[in-house]
Symmetry: C2
Subunit: 270 residues, 2 copies
């Protein structure tokens, strides 16, 4: 949820649920939850690398439908002896990070997210069936409870990822999935914020264009989650290649002073 030509005055239209979630989670404001001090980051061997990053192209789908990323050639090998391009883009393009500052007045900018919180257990919650039944499905506290009943409690410092299967649509119009003027894609329901906060989760990831589901105009999850000092990743790929628990995420957030987020490499180790 990000592009620069839409969503003006979100704050003035915040739903009651979003405001409540932000207040409930306020205790951790700027705290940027991470794993317990001294705990081992990963005890088991790594045998597989899974790339959770879509290739960012000029025509990669964006939240508002307008191109967000441009690249022009500045130096050419045949002429200059080497190739260099110049990028121009709004921070929230392709597979990208949302820092707390994206939806708060004083939250941490992306460079200030502690690196320790970016290497963490990855929990993948499968809502592919729900999303197949309802394109604008919202991941609920019940989905989290169901996941925990099968796979154990979400560990402190984890990243919780929503696998809606939406990554398969990233090359076409089905990613935004317009229904009239309303987008229909899945996201986190705002009342998951206190549940995730209670588990001391560090970040969340979605395989869609927004942490909130497509029809949201109040962005209650963004406000509650980012506004309480946590991070998010949008437009991740390949979650289906990972187990529900057991992988380690290395979330390559860009380290740019003052930025609200940006494209970064997202890699899972399994």
């Amino acid at each position: 949820m990000c592009d620069a030509c839409t969503m003006n005055r979100v704050a003035t239209t915040l739903g009651r649920r979003g405001v409540f979630a932000a207040a409930a989670a306020g205790a951790t404001l700027l705290g940027l939850a991470s794993r317990p001090a001294g705990a081992q980051i990963r005890a088991t061997p790594i045998s597989r690398v899974v790339d959770l990053t879509h290739t960012l192209r000029v025509d990669f789908p964006t939240f508002d439908g307008a191109p967000a990323f441009q690249m022009e050639q500045a130096m050419a090998f045949a002429r200059d002896g080497y190739n260099v391009n110049k990028f121009t883009y709004f921070e929230h393009a392709g597979t990208h990070f949302d820092s707390p500052f994206h939806f708060s007045a004083n939250g941490a900018t992306v460079d200030r997210i502690p690196v320790e919180s970016l290497v963490c257990p990855l929990v993948v919650i499968d809502v592919r069936q729900q999303a197949a039944n309802a394109a604008d499905y919202q991941l609920t506290p019940e989905d989290i409870a169901r996941h925990e009943a099968s796979h154990g409690r979400i560990p402190a410092g984890a990243c919780v990822a929503m696998n809606s299967g939406w990554d398969a649509r990233a090359s076409g119009a089905g990613f935004r999935n317009l229904d009239g003027n309303v987008m229909r894609f899945p996201g986190f329901r705002p009342d998951t914020v206190p549940v995730l906060t209670e588990r001391n989760v560090a970040g969340v990831a979605v395989d869609t264009l927004s942490l909130d589901h497509g029809p949201s105009s109040t962005f209650g999850f963004h406000t509650g989650w980012l506004g309480s000092g946590h991070w998010g990743i949008e437009c991740v790929a390949n979650l289906g290649a990972l187990p529900p628990v057991g992988a380690t995420l290395v979330a390559g957030a860009p380290k740019i002073a003052g930025a609200t987020g940006g494209h970064g490499r997202v890699i899972a180790l399994a």
Copy 2:
């Protein structure tokens, strides 16, 4: 070695050494060396995260001394309900990647570097003393041999990093270290290319502004190394916090179609 306002016509001034190295390494052209198939990526537990990434600021030093990175506010929380910025920058700013395509006509662009090669053993060669004695020191085949004599043969698929101690200078003029019109900082000597290639190394990293040392005008290492299908990272930080061998690099190269490189998060697991 990167900015867009210098270094025109590098190809026409290539030294004999650079051309030789490129030819010698030609057998792996576009091969993008990685670890042997089926090998475990890391067998031992991970207990520490080390951030090898400098914070990219508008005033971060650049190869040619001109600003390479700009950021402007597009949306403001107080006015719009959320914060978003717009970036404009040449790819090679801050801690950043060089893909094979940066110094070749047809080499892999940064998005096409196999992700498996970006998660690899990290070998840190300490040349801090040599660099203290000669600011424009070049890491030699003898430095590699000395490292191997103490720490074992460089494993296939590794990233070999030069620790010159230069990361401590990154906030000031000492990073470019101008001596008249010539920069004095350390880099890899072009005749290390065949040595690294023989070990099937995947990538290299330097804590300075260029894979080649500051005075180079022929860019023999760039041409030989990138031109033979390998990748590099420039301006890394904190190599001194790592052991000579045993850490695992997660090199968060941006995944941007057609790009020659770009800023990315570089993380070591130890």
